[in-house]
């Protein structure tokens, strides 16, 4: 019943925050905008039936990764970007291309996806922790273990990079 209004609300928040992220000159404002995008995406995930992934989105993305970003921004005391951009040419070429591509994508989506395909709230029941966990530890066990190794490597890399000597 509230599907459409909720979707529209949070989609609008997400788009607004995303645009704000790009337009703000100060990194911390951008970071907070990104947190806003992530939060509204979490709500959209809930609408799509992904409870677990919504919680993980908040915990991992908003709660850990973005905190790290904020921390780094604060640590480096990063200021706003300086106004004049030397290389506007690239952007002038790339941005129209980009929006052409986006329009192309939208056309493709609207023509390719059946009109009847709709997201019915509550229809998707597999988004809980149980079903995801079952898949993760059976079919996707090897990728899961590989990602744990990846994380280990990332930790080591971060430690090595953050040492004082380098």
């Amino acid at each position: 019943m509230f599907d459409v209004p909720l979707f529209l609300t949070f989609a609008a928040i997400a788009v607004a925050c995303a645009i704000n992220l790009v337009l703000q000159t100060h990194p911390i404002s951008s970071a907070l905008s990104l947190v806003g995008v992530m939060g509204s995406l979490a709500v959209l995930y809930l609408l799509l039936g992904g409870q677990f992934i919504a919680a993980v989105q908040l915990i991992v993305y908003a709660g850990a990764i973005m905190v790290l970003f904020v921390f780094v921004i604060m640590l480096l005391n990063a200021g706003a970007e300086k106004r004049p951009s030397r290389r506007v040419l690239g952007a002038a070429v790339a941005l129209p291309l980009l929006f052409t591509a986006a329009a192309l994508g939208a056309v493709m989506i609207t023509t390719q996806i059946p009109k009847t395909a709709a997201v019915k709230f509550g229809a998707f029941q597999l988004g809980g922790a149980a079903s995801i966990g079952r898949e993760l530890f059976t079919r996707y066990l090897l990728p899961f273990e590989v990602t744990s190794i990846l994380i280990l490597i990332a930790i080591l890399g971060a430690i090595v990079l953050a040492r004082k000597e380098i």
Partner: protein, 107 residues
């Protein structure tokens, strides 16, 4: 005929939203000059992709999309850890966050 809201959200809306977010992220990548902001634009693109995964997962009634986006998040976390460490090191050595000033990796 006045515009009538559908009773349920069409799948294409989610995909278009995801496309918009992705394009915004890509545009940000191209026009921002602060390394951290550029990095955040990458995260935005990853998020957009995640939304696509989840939407298709819903449409297909399979849980695999969730798994994929879970992995995307894990990779994003690792990427953030290493990337931010690199940014810290760059800042320590060059005292700049301007992405165009970090361009010595060329012939």
């Amino acid at each position: 005929m006045p515009f009538q809201l559908p009773a349920e959200v069409p799948l294409s809306w989610y995909l278009i939203l995801s496309a918009i977010l992705f394009v915004t992220g890509a545009a940000g990548f191209l026009i921002r000059r602060n390394i951290i902001t550029v990095f955040m634009c990458i995260e935005l693109m990853l998020n957009a992709v995640n939304l696509t995964f989840i939407s298709f997962s819903n449409a297909l009634g399979k849980v695999d999309g969730h798994i994929f986006s879970f992995f995307v998040m894990v990779v994003a976390a690792a990427e953030a850890a290493v990337g931010l460490a690199i940014i810290l090191t760059v800042f320590k050595n060059r005292a700049t966050l301007e992405i165009d000033e970090v361009s010595s990796l060329k012939l």
